[in-house]
């Protein structure tokens, strides 16, 4: 068929080679114990906030992506309707939890680079404390029958099961978990958005009762109502917007071998001491053209304290078995070698399911984090997820 007769407006413009995507803005709602607002209201505020932050009109958005667990949020189409987005080329609703944020940014960046879409809002919105609590909801899937009837019935327990084996095999313990908790609490004191800002010392931590070995309450994220969002667009477009572009230098998602029957099923996962970060690290850093030693700061997904240690070791940012000492010696503080979880993490800022791990990375790379700003912030590693599958990004300043 002769295609030269097609109307020119139907011919997709050929993209320039090596178009690069960037994050151009972030938006948040306040974090609530009980929002008394609809999830759509929260989502729309966070997305509108990201647009306002970047200085882009909703009419320019042509893609929205989000994730939810057990239908605890609203679909992208609802946000498009609420914001008055004229048309969507991408509406990506994904049935995942904390594995999703970096994954969605990476997918959006690739779709932008492929010319499929121009500007994508990515959000997580939830009444995660007052309504649908991810930590204790019963996940659909074939694996639940082997867990729920015997009281193995909360996500916290699954990550604790991994944490217990991880600490045992790597010769680490409760003081190493305490190091993560105390370090992140110190950051949260500087973060007005954080839910847990009460100063905490080692004696205070150790005095708390166990919830599920090896976790005390402060080893666990604090559930909240709220939302946050990022805007991803081409680097070229981002350079014309209000904020410094945050370049999506690299990304990766991995589900390792035999990732299970549902998001809580880990019966066939061979090694509880290594999660997806071990599987994707080489690809992540290779694609960015850097080594782990080049990373200046990190935002590591932390639904629970041990997840930070497994993540630091899995990415190769710290040697196996050394992450606890690394944190205890102050290396993840602002004046340390690798400032990490500078918002206080999900442990102290609150559980926006790791979307706020990405937004914090953006604020840091842009140099906008105020009193908790990392002095070295041009190359940041970010992760999403705790167990069999997850994703990561390398975000960099525009150089």
């Amino acid at each position: 068929m002769d295609r030269t007769c097609l109307p020119t407006e139907l011919v997709v413009k050929k993209r320039e080679e090596n178009v690069t995507a960037a994050i151009a803005g972030v938006g948040y709602t306040p974090l609530y114990k009980e929002s008394n607002r609809s999830v759509l209201d929260l989502a729309a505020e966070a997305c509108a906030g990201a647009l306002e932050d970047a200085g882009m009109a909703a009419s320019e958005v042509d893609g929205i992506a989000s994730f939810m667990v057990m239908h605890d949020s609203v679909p992208c189409q609802a946000v498009a309707t609420s914001l008055g987005v004229p048309e969507l080329s991408i509406a990506l609703d994904i049935d995942l939890g904390g594995q999703a944020p970096c994954y969605l940014v990476w997918l959006a960046a690739n779709l932008i680079n492929a010319g499929a879409v121009n500007s994508v809002l990515i959000f997580r919105a939830m009444n995660g404390r007052s309504a649908n609590r991810v930590g204790t909801m019963e996940f659909a899937g074939m694996g639940g029958q082997f867990r729920y009837p015997i009281g193995y019935d909360a996500y916290l327990m699954y990550v604790a099961m991994w944490g217990q084996r991880f600490l045992y095999e790597t010769g680490q313990g409760e003081l190493d978990l305490a190091g993560v908790v105390l370090n992140q609490r110190q950051y949260a004191v500087e973060n007005e958005r954080a839910v847990r800002r009460r100063p905490l010392d080692l004696d205070g931590y150790l005095a708390e009762p166990m919830v599920v070995d090896p976790y005390r309450a402060d080893d666990c994220t604090v559930e909240v109502d709220g939302a946050c969002a990022v805007l991803v667009t081409s680097l070229e477009r981002a350079r014309d917007l209000r904020r410094p572009p945050v370049v999506v230098a690299s990304g990766a998602y991995r589900a390792g071998s035999r990732p299970g029957l549902d998001i809580g099923d880990h019966l066939m996962w061979a090694d509880y001491t290594r999660n997806y970060t071990s599987v994707l690290a080489k690809d992540l850093f290779g694609r960015a053209g850097i080594t782990p030693g080049d990373v200046e700061m990190a935002e590591i997904y932390d639904c629970f304290s041990s997840t930070v240690l497994i993540g630091l070791e899995g990415l190769g940012l710290v040697e196996r078995g050394q992450s606890g000492a690394f944190v205890r010696e102050g290396n993840t503080r602002l004046d340390g070698a690798l400032p990490t979880n500078t918002h206080g993490g999900l442990l102290s800022e609150g559980y926006l399911h790791g979307m706020n791990t990405v937004t914090e990375a953006v604020l840091q790379v842009q140099g906008r984090a105020g009193t908790r700003q990392s002095p070295r912030h041009e190359i940041c590693a970010v992760t999403s997820g705790a167990m069999m599958d997850g994703s990561a990004l390398v975000l960099t300043a525009d150089r």
């Binding site: 029958q145 729920y148 599920v212 070995d213 035999r258």
Partner: protein
């Protein structure tokens, strides 16, 4: 929360086996491996030359958690209790309560303890020496 299992087509023989106080895993005749949970195909070769196989259910604790405080609104079990990932001698892993919970430890050798509930049987584990 589900306080009793809802078997599916794949898992029905496992739960039925427990009511007879037998531990049934799935075996791929082509790969000569046992696996659990039951799947429509072998997780190694993807084949369907599968049979149910009764195993002794002995093994050791790969990891464990002790629950001090109920986290769900309608807990199936009252704390304190321990749940382990048990690695059976044939390589399969299963989740099960460890009783007594004070005994839970990585590497502990365990044997099955069948607990009959109304309408289903739970596979728990106890120290082999007891």
């Amino acid at each position: 929360m589900a306080n009793r299992p809802v078997p599916d087509v794949q898992s029905a023989s496992f739960w039925e086996g427990l009511t007879n106080h037998e531990v049934i895993v799935e075996r791929c005749n082509d790969c000569a491996i046992d696996f659990f949970p039951h799947l429509p195909t072998c997780p190694r070769c993807g084949g369907r030359n599968l049979v149910d196989r009764v195993v002794p259910g002995r093994g050791r604790v790969y990891s464990w958690v002790r629950v001090h405080r109920a986290l769900s609104d309608e807990p199936a079990v009252q704390p304190p209790y321990a749940v382990g990932t048990i690695e059976l001698d044939d390589g399969c892993r299963m989740f099960g309560r460890i009783e007594p919970h004070e005994a839970a430890a990585i590497g502990l050798e365990v044997t099955p303890r069948f607990i009959d509930h109304d309408g289903w049987t739970e596979l728990a584990f106890q120290p082999s020496s007891s």
